[in-house]
Amino acid sequence: MSDVIVETLVRLLSGWHLVYLLIGVYVGLVMGVLPALGGSAGMAVLLPFVFGLDAELALPMMIGMMAVTPTADTFPSVLMGIPGSNSSQSTVLDGFPLSKRGEAARALSAAFSASLVGGVIGAGFLTVAIFFALPFLLMIGFGEQLMLILLALTMVGTLTGASPLKGLATCGLGLLVGTIGTAPTTGSQRMTFDMSYMMDGVPLIIVGLSLFALPEIVDLVRRQTKISQTGTSLGSGWIQGVKDTIINWGVVLRCSLLGVIIGALPGIGGSVINWVSYSHVVQTAKDKSQFGKGDIRGVIGPESANNAQDGGALIPTLLFGIPGSGSMALLLAGFILVGIEPGVEMITTNLDLTYTIIWSLALGSVFGAGTCVFLAKPIARLTLVPATIIAPFMFSLIFLSAFQATRDWGDLAILLILGILGIYMKRFGWPRPAFMIGFVLSGQLENGLYRVTQVYGFSFLERPVVLALLVMLALAIYAAFRFKPKEEPITATPAHSAENRLPQLMFVFLLIAFAGYALVQSLSWNFATALMPRSVALATLLLLVPLAAAMVRTKTAAHYFYDSEREEFSGDVEYRTNEHYIALLVATLIGAWLAGFVVAMTAFLYLFLRRKAKLQHWQCAVAAACLAVSLMALSSLLGLRFPASLASTFVDLPWYLT
């Protein structure tokens, strides 16, 4: 066996194998940097070249690409607060604040070195575990899956923010939004308003973009002249980031293992991993005060986990042909094209292919992260560009990314609706991470509950692994109460004051109205369809109503009061309200609907640069032209079309202008 390991490594490092690996790595880097174009898009780009290629060349290319997308997507997450993909959403929480503190280069290089280690640990785990995993994986039945999902749900305890009541209610809302769409167990429609777009529910990538990216960027242009508040320097630089990773080796190791294991286990799903690892880091940290404000551990944890995850996810993919994620599904398609059939043969007769995969994963992580570390410092200079110049580009990027979800107008509409929700959640201190945990686990939780009742009934409690997990669950709940982050003193910030609370009261009542609406709707559905949304809506209302009552009655400052509008605004930036920017975005979207995506985005960029950044006309024109050209180039290279505008129904427009 050990000669196979060495042989495959030597072969991989020689001649064309290495070239193909590097092609994969660089395609992956480009795809990763562009938000929402992750592994799936990369695989779609590579597939045409995989046709007729020898498996030994195709594998390094495909795996190399997959290995680096979760590395490269850290750039938008850290520098712009735009989640680069579903697997790096939680990186935004501390990564972007670090950029704002002028430590972008440090955050990036910490993320990349953590990614590198994570990727190598994932590959190492795969090397060993693939031989022993089968019996362990078969121990995780529907009952065990449900317990694991519940365990992940308890992580929300660490992400509730200052007011636990508010945090739990937010998680409930996330669960509730997650039930929108076709009910997985009955095929009935829930809260889809009879629109076919809504049948598949709200796409995760859009929830990430609208709750994190849009509010952060709006906040940025309102408050700061540049992303980096320190202005001119990039601070401690990239060496510090590598040091951070080394100092926090325990975090790296634990989160990598977490990523690998959750990646391999059935029924939980890859998009949960970054959230679970983030909560784990927060939960186990002694000093929790800096999380959400720029704690480097909040970047290191999820980034090591999301790179390690591939190593784990490959186990079921190789052994059972079960794709753990979208890009794994495409990888599986690639396998079929080059004639690899998943199954137990992968650890017997096809062992050399398995090692080619493992080495490609390890080497890909090293090459990818190495390149990124090298690029970290120059690219981090973006944080020194005035916010009013970079913001319109970021908005365009977000619109473009959101549209990749299903390439439907609905994507952009949902982005805006949830974006508005996100802006006010940020303003009134509703913890968005808690919403995300609820949202990503909603479908899994419902499926899990349904399967357990269908297959086992209460007898699932007789299974030993379930019982062990039950004990862990109890411990996790105990830990959530016992090791709660220390409450900040209320006087520390004027945001918690009880004065002028009408805006936040209105927001609470809107949330109550939404949960109430869901509850009323659910009354007309059959039992299996209604069970999950009805229970969640009820629980959410039980949290929201007392909260609202307390907010109405209390006359002094309290944790559940929060309004960031009371904080100081910098005098260097022209004061504009949230509503001003919401109106701008709505107008842009209406423009896109009337005149076409490219035209509207270009016009938006031109006007934004002219009015907000006060650039010269020619500068605005050059920037707008650059944007238009890159949008069109991107659409022609990747074969993606922009949403059809009203204009295109009257005039025959070229495809890139529709």
Partner: protein, 364 residues
């Protein structure tokens, strides 16, 4: 003079006639030189029909007249309804846009209700590629695959659980089959095929189906190791009959088993519904379609290109599992296969509505 004159006259007429027919042929010749053809895949990247479509792309570029560029556009959502609606709304009958159809498209045609704004029956099918369905059970149920009657008795004597994505999907064909065989079965929804396989290995589910392609690629290794036992296929529709699957001629069909167990061949409305679903899930499993009103010559150009692709030895090697040894249908024959799958008689259509309402509380 007269004979010569009339001969000349005749020659002139002939020449003119042949010239006009020549220019007519020229007007009809299809040429996609310099064009970009959009291939709509109403699914996410990596699914069965998406991979099928992607495999054809390089060959369509090679064999379509004028060697156009073919790009694939994935428009997923709503179990293929979103993408198909968009195809219906935007495609013009000029051959520059086609769609890959699959069983999901046909199920949506039957059960899509108001959300479906397309009509497969009006599209012009280029081809359909059949794909067999194999049903297998875990060895824990006691089946051996050696004696079909004994196996049926074994399965009838216990509760068997099957996994499927959702009630209104192509998996109904197997649920109908279990009904016909009088099995005591229950379906756990929300499960993908791979998840079902894994759950069977854990002993949580008993029975599963796979298309020929994934049966060969993903179930085979557990059949060799004895965990799964292949039982039956849904067969292959031929005229009004269903015959043995050409790729799996050793496995009996549901029809054979029914006949042996009941002493007479299956019949009645329930059986008609089963047959429609075998047609949509097996006979018309995948294919390409052009929009309504596409002229014959354009469709012929596509049929020709697809035929040449299927004859290409490189393609055969690449698509050995996806296309297999199944008889491929083209043009009008393909249209007819689609019609057999979704052109239900009012009686069968009503029965289906009642079935969905009674069994799954789903109004169509």
């Amino acid at each position: 003079m007269k004979p010569l004159g009339s001969m000349l006259w005749g020659a002139a007429v002939l020449a003119a006639a042949s010239l006009s027919s020549l220019s007519g042929a020229r007007a009809q010749a299809v040429d996609f030189k310099g064009e970009t053809i959009e291939l709509i895949a109403p699914y996410t990247e990596g699914g069965g029909a998406d991979v099928y479509a992607r495999m054809f792309i390089p060959y369509l570029q090679k064999y379509l007249p004028g060697n156009p560029k073919v790009i694939i556009r994935n428009l997923p959502g709503g179990a293929s309804i979103l993408g198909n609606n968009k195809f219906q709304a935007t495609a013009k009958p000029d051959g520059k846009m086609l769609v890959v159809t699959s069983s999901s498209t046909l199920v949506a045609q039957l059960l899509g209700g108001k959300k479906r704004q397309f009509d497969v029956l009006k599209w012009r099918q280029v081809n359909v590629s059949p794909q067999g369905t194999v049903i297998y059970a875990t060895s824990k149920t006691g089946v051996t695959g050696k004696d079909m009657m004994a196996d049926l008795e074994k399965l009838r004597g216990q509760k068997i659980r099957y996994g499927a994505k959702q009630p209104d999907a192509g998996e109904l064909r197997n649920i109908f089959a279990f009904d016909l065989l009088g099995l005591n079965h229950e379906t756990i929804f929300g499960l993908a095929r791979g998840e079902v396989r894994q759950a069977m290995l854990r002993g949580e589910l008993e029975i599963n189906h796979d298309t020929a392609e994934s049966f060969n690629s993903s179930a085979q290794s557990f059949i060799k190791s004895g965990e799964f036992v292949p039982l039956w296929t849904l067969g292959m529709p031929k005229g009004e009959d269903i015959v043995r699957d050409p790729v799996f001629p050793d496995y009996p069909t549901i029809n054979e088993l029914y006949e042996k167990a009941n002493g007479k061949p299956p019949a009645g409305t329930e059986y008609e519904a089963f047959k429609a679903f075998v047609n949509l899930g097996v006979a018309a499993s995948k294919g390409f379609a052009l929009p309504e009103g596409t002229p014959d010559n354009i469709r012929e150009a596509y049929v020709d290109a697809v035929k040449k692709t299927l004859d290409d030895p490189d393609f055969r090697k690449l698509a050995s599992d996806e296309v297999g040894q199944y008889p491929q249908l083209f043009g009008d024959d393909a249209d007819f296969a689609i019609k057999k799958a979704v052109g239900l008689s009012p009686e069968v259509s009503d029965w289906l509505k009642q079935y969905m309402l009674k069994k799954y509380d789903l109004a169509i």
